[in-house]
Subunit: 617 residues, 2 copies
């Protein structure tokens, strides 16, 4: 299995050029002396979850944020790390492949070697299974040679994105102990980082000295929260998809006879679809979050598309491009209910061929209505995270089929007078996921790799490497680390019996924020995109000249830098403390007390009523 991994390979001219590209480091990570400043202890996003999360994470909850500062930074209580005893670190690809993943390894390797040439980095071959089986490859300059700035996860490979069962965590513990690892770096998305957090707690409980670090690497872009602005791979995947979507737009406009229904990989939520829409301006996108918010049925969505087709035909436009996130099938209420029934029956051991007879009357009616290919796909076993096999369910074909049926009906009734409706369906995912990473993803992943080293040098356990202020140039990036427990929430759902069930604390995927600026930008332009064919072609990913340094629109429009703003607040508090030192005038003290009383009042009120933003809904 491991025979293919990590072998040198022939590179194309562009790959060669890219393999020579050296990402920049932000000033705070340059040199061998780094200062770590710890903020206040962290809390969890939803106050109501605190006690459940506290029970699951007695050792790793409430740890402070960490900020890495340049050696010359004048912060009085920052910890200066100048001693670098040799350490051994393991690294594993746990999540699905995402462009840029290799650069996390490279960045970590560079940081290890800069600080102590005796440091060792072991890559686990074949993902989590390689970790359990202790299959390793020592990372060296030679091994990295043809993998720097290259796509895929093929340097080490990946298997299942799960380190969760008792057997699995015990195997991981044994591997780390046997291999005498000081640190284990886990690369992946929400599931892998949730596993990393639980593993950190498990290691702490077991008094294992290996510190666990998580790195946010997922094309889905759904590992987003106060501390994490972006995920490695998302930038590239959106650029490659946007390239293809705009090619399809150009094609549609050239022949004016097809509607393209393009389904996009990206799991449950619609971050990829939103970003691609903002980059390439197709006529329409159906976001899962909109469907959920408005409780749209499959027939509502069909009608929405049909009305759009009809409105365009009235302006003599018989072509168009419509984006559909792969996760939408779980957002459409009646399809989701049907899926849940099917998955329940599958779990009970009912064979797929017998399921249709055992569905509830309502689900059965819906199921029978669906075309054969859709029936077959809905009957597939769910994934390890209990979601449907989204990449296999061709919702775009279902919608194209329903729209065609309805347009034919409207034609017969005389309400639609345009050309015959013709759809072509696409699924964009695999062909983007293995791409050469964009410059942004190369830089971001490389810097995250460096941060992993500093987290371990600071002796932190259960942290995720973070970079904020990403929309600015690299020399303005702020590097830090946040405890993964602070990103956790708990899901509750009611059982048939009426009692409540509570899920395992987890880093849940963030939904597209319907109050956020990226979505607002879409809404402002949606009507123009729909009717005016404002197709925009960002073109293939470039590594030089205009476009090479472009970043995701959704990253650039948001005011993020939560960690920067948290620091800013601490500075204000420190300033107040400095101004109102013992010895200050009565007036100053009086004013300070009065103002601070009202500040704390306001904030307490907001905090208790807030559910901390619907991105954690």
């Amino acid at each position: 299995m491991d025979s293919d991994f990590g072998i040198p390979r022939e590179l194309s001219p562009l790959q060669q050029l890219r393999s020579q590209y050296q990402p920049q480091l932000p000033p705070c990570l340059q040199g061998t002396t780094v200062r770590v400043e710890f903020g206040d202890g962290t809390t969890v996003a939803k106050a109501g979850d605190a006690h459940i999360i506290a029970r699951a994470f007695p050792h790793t909850l409430g740890q402070p944020l960490a900020h890495f500062l340049r050696a010359t930074a004048k912060v009085p209580d920052a910890q200066i790390i100048t001693e670098h005893p040799p350490i051994r670190v393991g690294i594993v690809f746990s999540g699905r492949q995402a462009p840029g993943g290799h650069n996390v390894i490279w960045g970590l390797y560079e940081a290890l070697k800069v600080h102590n040439t005796d440091n060792t980095l072991l890559g686990f071959l074949g993902g989590s299974e390689g970790l359990f089986a202790q299959k390793t490859l020592e990372i060296t300059d030679d091994v990295l040679q043809t993998y720097k700035n290259q796509g895929g996860f093929d340097l080490l490979g990946r298997t299942k994105d799960q380190i969760r069962s008792t057997e699995q965590v015990n195997a991981a513990l044994k591997a780390c102990t046997d291999l005498k690892l000081d640190g284990l770096v886990i690369i992946g998305g929400v599931t892998s980082n949730t596993d990393a957090a639980h593993l950190a707690e498990f290691f702490a409980e077991a008094k294992c000295s290996t510190k666990v670090v998580g790195v946010p690497v997922t094309i889905n872009g759904d590992l987003k929260n106060q501390f994490v602005e972006a995920n490695v791979g998302f930038d590239t995947i959106c650029k490659v998809n946007s390239q293809l979507i705009s090619n399809v737009c150009t094609d549609a406009l050239s022949a004016e006879k097809y509607y393209y229904f393009v389904r996009l990989m990206g799991r449950k939520h619609s971050h990829v679809a939103l970003e691609c829409t903002l980059q390439s301006h197709p006529n329409m996108v159906i976001l899962g979050e909109e469907v959920t918010a408005s409780k749209l049925t499959i027939f509502d969505i069909t009608k929405q598309i049909c009305d759009a087709v009809q409105a365009r035909a009235e302006q003599d436009k018989n072509h168009g491009v419509i984006l559909i996130p792969e996760g939408i099938v779980e957002s459409i209420p009646e399809l989701y209910a049907l899926l849940k029934e099917i998955h329940g029956l599958l779990k009970e051991g009912v064979h797929a061929v017998n399921i249709s007879t055992q569905l509830s009357p309502w689900s059965s009616a819906l199921f029978e209505f669906l075309p054969p290919f859709m029936k077959k796909q809905l009957l597939l076993h769910p994934e390890s995270d209990d979601s449907a096999q989204l990449s296999q369910i061709e919702t775009e074909k279902l919608l194209a089929y329903l729209v065609e049926t309805e347009m034919n009906k409207r034609t017969k009734e005389g309400t639609y007078k345009g050309k015959k409706f013709n759809a072509i369906c696409h699924f964009f995912g695999y062909q983007a996921r293995g791409s050469l990473p964009s410059k942004f993803d190369c830089d971001y992943a490389y810097v995250l790799g460096h941060i992993c080293y500093h987290i371990l040098a600071a002796g932190l356990n259960g942290y995720m490497a973070t970079v904020t202020n990403l929309k600015s140039p690299v020399n303005k990036w702020k590097c830090g680390a946040a405890p993964m427990t602070a990103m956790m929430t708990v899901k509750r759902w009611s059982q048939n019996s009426g009692s409540n069930s509570i899920g395992r604390p987890a880093i849940h995927p963030a939904t597209v924020d319907l109050k956020g600026k990226a979505y607002e930008l879409l809404r402002q332009n949606a009507q123009k995109f729909l009717m005016e064919d404002m197709y925009r072609n960002p073109g293939p990913v470039q590594y030089d000249g205009p476009g090479a340094d472009t970043k995701a629109v959704s990253l650039c429009v948001e005011d993020q830098d939560y960690m920067g703003r948290i620091k800013k607040l601490q500075e204000y508090l420190d300033q107040v403390r400095t101004i109102v030192k013992p010895g200050c005038s009565q007036d100053v003290l009086k004013a300070a007390l009065s103002v601070m009383a009202s500040v704390t009042d306001v904030l307490s009120t907001i905090s208790s009523s807030s559910t901390s933003g619907q991105q954690f809904a």
Copy 2:
């Protein structure tokens, strides 16, 4: 219909940069004085076709090749064109969209304006239908602004690729006469250029003064012959497809659990699949030409793939990437026979639902064996050129299905011991066709546009613009024009009655030459590609730095420049004539006669036995 065409639009940063790119002209086209040298009159490729083609083209057969030379070239009998009276030219997108098409218009426009500012270029809006309906847009600097070096055909649009019926050619004649056109430039592939040749003859017969010029623009790369080395669009389409194929290869290698079956757009023949294989090194490709040559059945192909899967599994490789040209369905004998029967019945007016009952026993057995999606797709009406709707027939899914069935069988029998076979299917076509054109396609199309002007300035009718020596840099390109009749062949097939039927003379699509160097390169590497995962990622199309000037592998390995070599021969003959002038010694004359006698002997023998290469089979 035309409301969207030719309107200015918002460009992305990369599109803007590209819109400012100025392609170079080869020395022979620089300045306003160009010399035209005429070669000998042309013949047709197959001697046996001559009389049939002669009957169809009394006016335009046997015209000489034309070479455009730089003003300073010292060729005694070259015609120097210095007078440039104002002319009016029409241009139409007749074939399917291909990246670079817009640059033909731009190149022609530039040439027209450089030679006489009173020249006029009219674009027909909406393709051939716009020509018939005389819908025009005058091309100006403003109109071209946002379309230079951009993909698609959306500046003018396209509809049907047909100018063939009596009604259609009469409408074209009327349009050219009404609009007082001196020239009509038709952009497209084999079908469109065949139509252009017949239209040229029809115009000559009708004493219409409009000259017809063809331009080889097709992503299929199948308009190849002695005079035409490459087609506009092929380079880009292969690069974009190769980018995606290698992304899929990287993906396959990262997770090691999927076989990707990738079907490629490219019509009947396998040029695109061959070129993409040479660029990205997937594990396997099934060329239509190999299937035809070896008369492989669908079961032979299935077995070939299954054996490969099994051999790879024995080396612990449970992943792979297999390319399948869309035209393969017409190369597989029993599927082709079935398709012909179905198309025959459809022509007789039999409704699709009744066809299965009217098939011959053999075809019926095959049809019933096929999975439902395939049945449905085979029953689609054929295209205007009588071929099946190749883009709609999911041969990759059929093969994946048959391979899976066979691998399951082998697993049960115990002959296959690898992991469960999992396939993911893709069709790459539309998402590449609308791409921003590569530098090569930008340059090539722009130069062809210029040549169109010179063909018209020289008063030639029924010619195609040609550039040879394309594998060299632009300043070494040789520009010329070849009569389209010289590219024609005639197809013969036996009827049920035993009599022979003869097709209309046409420029037939070239097959992949199984004796050519490109195919030889594939064969030399096929075993390594299959077993050793030598995946190569050319990356996204670049416009700067390494890779930006890369050209198609199949273009670079062939010794083409037929037109250059024809010229070289003429030079030899001229030299003999100079040496053996009246007054030369008896010895020289005697030697010359003896040598030339044997030369003519050898060539006559070869000519009569040759069927002129199997690329015209």
